[in-house]
């Protein structure tokens, strides 16, 4: 057994840590407040190759592994979770789905610009009436001559509102003569006729990673934009979400780590009752619990990513890491706020931003409840 990161993994983690600390962290508060999209920083991330870590060099990627990508997600999220979210969607989920299921031509056309960070991808599964029960989606696709015609509404679509977003991968129902319907996945370019970008959602936080509604109003795309096996569109979509779960766990660890560091720094610097508040047992124990939870969650996401790199089953590990990490992060953020007292509520201190952002992680890529359902299912199968 070996818990050490490889030389390459350490190198990229340290490089991104430095980048995130120097470039992202100082702007995080402003980005969150203004809700402006961080195009300049995304460009810098692209230059470092961060959007394409796990993809082969022939597609513009780094030829790295999933462990490295997730170390990077943790480090970015430690500075600003919005950046973890952007990479989760575009690389772990969309990039992977194109890479694994796309034809050579689709990869050349759609994957490479995403891997290079010139374009950003979005993922379309959720609908107004189809959330946890993703299989109940009602968006339809119908082949008319050389084109698919899609109709429906996809909701809570992260990234699609960015100017450089190029496409959304849409799961839609297709009538399959006499055999009922199947769910297939389609590459829907943002400039396709009938593609409408709906309103930007007003969220609690995470304003710098845009979330929009997407309306497909007789949206026409070429016949060749069907992705993968038409009978297995839903399974494909769910398969990449498994990786998305590892990414959310890494994000949660990054934010929780930032919370703990802020709380520790505050506790050591803030004097009350004639001494640093760190000296109080109540504060020390809170910090100790934070450190334990973060360490556990970090090991969990790294193990899931490592299993993925080994080509082994990791459905349980991905769900468990996501569930545990997102829930512990809420507690860590909450306690970090307590340690700050009244100061914690002011945006001058980043903990209030962390607290608001972290709640989202218990919802995206399958809620905590969905993770428990999936985990129970894996138990029943064993």
């Amino acid at each position: 057994m070996d818990f050490d990161l490889s030389k390459e993994q350490k190198m990229i983690r340290d490089e991104v840590r430095k980048f995130a600390r120097k470039e992202i962290a100082p702007k995080a508060e402003e980005l969150e407040r203004t809700g402006e999209y961080p195009y300049d920083l995304m460009e810098k991330m692209a230059k470092l190759g961060l959007m394409g870590i796990p993809f082969p060099e022939e597609y513009g990627g780094m030829g790295g592994d999933w462990v490295s990508l997730h170390l990077v997600i943790e480090e970015l999220s430690r500075a600003d979770a919005n950046f973890g979210a952007i990479i989760d969607v575009t690389t772990s989920v969309v990039g992977q789905e194109l890479y694994v299921f796309g034809t050579e031509e689709q990869k050349r056309k759609y994957l490479i610009p995403i891997v290079k960070g010139e374009k950003i991808g979005a993922f379309g599964l959720t609908e107004p009436d189809s959330g946890s029960d993703a299989g109940s989606l009602t968006t339809t696709a119908e082949l008319q001559g050389d084109e698919w015609v899609l109709n429906g509404t996809k909701q809570f679509i992260t990234n699609i509102g960015l100017d450089n977003a190029s496409l959304v991968l849409v799961a839609a129902r297709v009538q399959n003569e006499g055999k009922g319907d199947i769910i297939s996945t389609f590459i829907v370019p943002k400039d396709a006729p009938g593609f409408e970008l709906g309103e930007k959602y007003r969220k609690m936080a995470m304003h710098a990673s845009a979330t929009h509604e997407v309306i497909l109003n007789s949206c026409r795309i070429p016949k060749d934009n069907l992705l993968g096996d038409p009978n297995r569109g839903f399974a494909q979509h769910l398969a990449v979400l498994e990786t998305g779960r590892i990414s959310i766990a890494a994000m949660a660890v990054g934010v929780a780590q930032a919370c703990m560091e802020e709380a520790l720094r505050w506790a050591q610097g803030r004097a009350q009752f004639g001494q640093p508040i760190f000296n109080f047992q109540a504060v020390q124990f809170k910090l100790a619990d934070m450190a334990v939870a973060i360490e556990l969650a970090r090991n969990m996401y790294l193990k899931a990513a490592w299993l993925k790199d080994q080509g082994r089953q990791h459905a349980f590990e991905a769900s468990a890491a996501k569930l545990f990490a997102s829930e512990m992060a809420e507690k860590v953020a909450s306690d970090a706020l307590h340690i700050h007292g009244g100061y914690g509520f002011m945006e001058e201190y980043p903990v209030s931003r962390y607290f608001k952002g972290i709640k989202l992680l218990q919802i995206v890529e399958g809620t905590s409840e969905v993770q428990r359902m999936l985990i129970a299912r894996t138990l029943a199968r064993q």
Binding site: R33, T126, D129, S130, G131, S132, D133, S136, Q155, F156, Y201, R202, K203, M204, A271, Q272, F273, F280, A282, V283, E330, S334, L337, H338, G341, G342, G344, F345, M346, E347, E348, S352, F355, K356, K359, L360, Q362, I363, V364, T367, S368, E369, R372
Partner: protein, 379 residues
């Protein structure tokens, strides 16, 4: 203690509910929260109807009602909207000092203005480096003929910049003794220092105040000279009941919204309320809310009966605020992605709940106080 609302309490509850339903507008709340603005029009109307300072004596334009009545009002207001409700109920935050300790002249002059919606009041106790015992104050008030001259800085002053007057905790005459002094906001030498964006309770201003040679008449001393710290501790103990009731309403409001949602939302071919996990979540939420209500009402009742039970008031705040944070968090969870969107309001309740938990007495300090009443002072 079993709580059963009597007829007049039920009437207050009904009136509060109707007022909130008629006046607290969801879109307005979104805008005010976003821009950190006080709900001025609603406040004026609430004051007209006698909802502000309801527990003040009649001669000060109050309703001569009980603390429990005020708790019921706060609960109903926050149930409908945690941010508007809190802003209204905290609009008179420094008036308690005046009510409990102020001279008749000061009470006559200011309490009616508070109750009638003419002015907000702000509590200026904390300083950047003070602790919960207010041991290291730098703000001083020095006697000069028939005036106090005040210098110093106060932090996290509720309603700062909006208030008509502040109750300011100062060292008086340089010794270790402290006193409370009423300072009108239009006096020369007061600067409001904006603290920027905050997490929750965003319709209630929280800013710092700087006092530079601010002069007020000696008669504006609130209570006894030298008793400032003690008086502040006592109103902060008392405020635990009010903040607990804000939290109670916030928890109930988040719960109401989640319950409505799970009853109509269908997934996997049935209403999500039909899932056992959903039902058990609801059971846990409602249990927490009922615990919070029982202890908060009980703290208010015992205060109305004669004496503030400090331990009970602190426990009420601890329990009710925790309930609010946990219930709101679970409510967001039940709504899934919708829960994170402002449209469904619960995210705002969650932020407010978290802010209430730290407002006034923070949990660590509450536990210190509760423990001290059990084990006595440890030498």
């Amino acid at each position: 203690m079993v709580y059963q609302l009597n007829k007049s309490q039920k009437e207050i509850q009904k009136a509060a509910k109707e007022f909130a339903k008629g006046e607290f507008d969801k879109d307005l709340a979104y805008e005010l929260d976003k821009n950190q603005e006080f709900p001025e029009k609603i406040w004026k109307k609430a004051a007209e109807l006698g909802f502000i300072g309801m527990h003040f004596p009649e001669k000060y334009a109050g309703g001569e009602l009980d603390v429990l009545d005020n708790v019921i009002l706060a609960e109903e207001f926050c149930r409908k909207d945690s941010t508007i409700g809190s802003a209204l109920m905290l609009s008179a935050f420094a008036s308690e000092c005046l009510l409990r300790f102020g001279s008749n002249e000061l009470k006559e002059k200011y309490l009616p203005k508070v109750a009638e919606g003419e002015m907000l009041s702000g509590a200026a106790y904390s300083e950047p480096d003070t602790d919960a015992a207010f041991d290291s104050l730098i703000t001083t008030a020095v006697k000069d003929n028939n005036e106090w001259i005040i210098n110093g800085e106060k932090s996290y002053v509720l309603n700062a910049g909006m208030a008509g007057f502040y109750c300011v905790l100062c060292h008086t005459n340089g010794d270790q003794k402290t006193s409370l002094i009423l300072v009108e906001s239009q006096r020369q030498g007061i600067t409001v220092i904006d603290k920027g964006e905050k997490l929750g309770l965003r319709m209630t201003a929280t800013s710092d105040l700087k006092f530079e040679n601010v002069r007020v008449p000696l008669g504006q001393l609130v209570g006894k000279e030298g008793n400032g710290r003690k008086q502040v501790q006592s109103v902060l103990d008392e405020s635990c009941i009010l903040i607990a009731s804000l939290a109670l309403g916030t928890a109930q409001g988040a719960f109401d919204r989640a319950l409505d949602y799970v009853k109509q939302r269908e997934q996997f071919g049935k209403k999500i309320v039909q899932f056992q996990v959903t039902q058990h979540k609801l059971a846990d939420m409602v249990s927490k809310i009922d615990q919070a209500r029982a202890i908060t009402y009980s703290a208010a009742q015992s205060f109305d009966a004669g004496k503030l039970d400090v331990k009970l008031a602190c426990m009420a705040k601890l329990v009710a605020c925790r309930a609010a944070v946990e219930v709101a968090s679970e409510a967001i969870q039940l709504l899934g992605g919708y829960g994170y969107m402002t449209e469904y309001e619960i995210e705002r309740f969650y932020r407010d709940a978290k802010n209430m938990e730290i407002l006034g007495r923070a949990p660590t300090h509450l536990k210190d106080i509760i423990a001290a009443t059990i084990v006595g002072k440890i030498k």
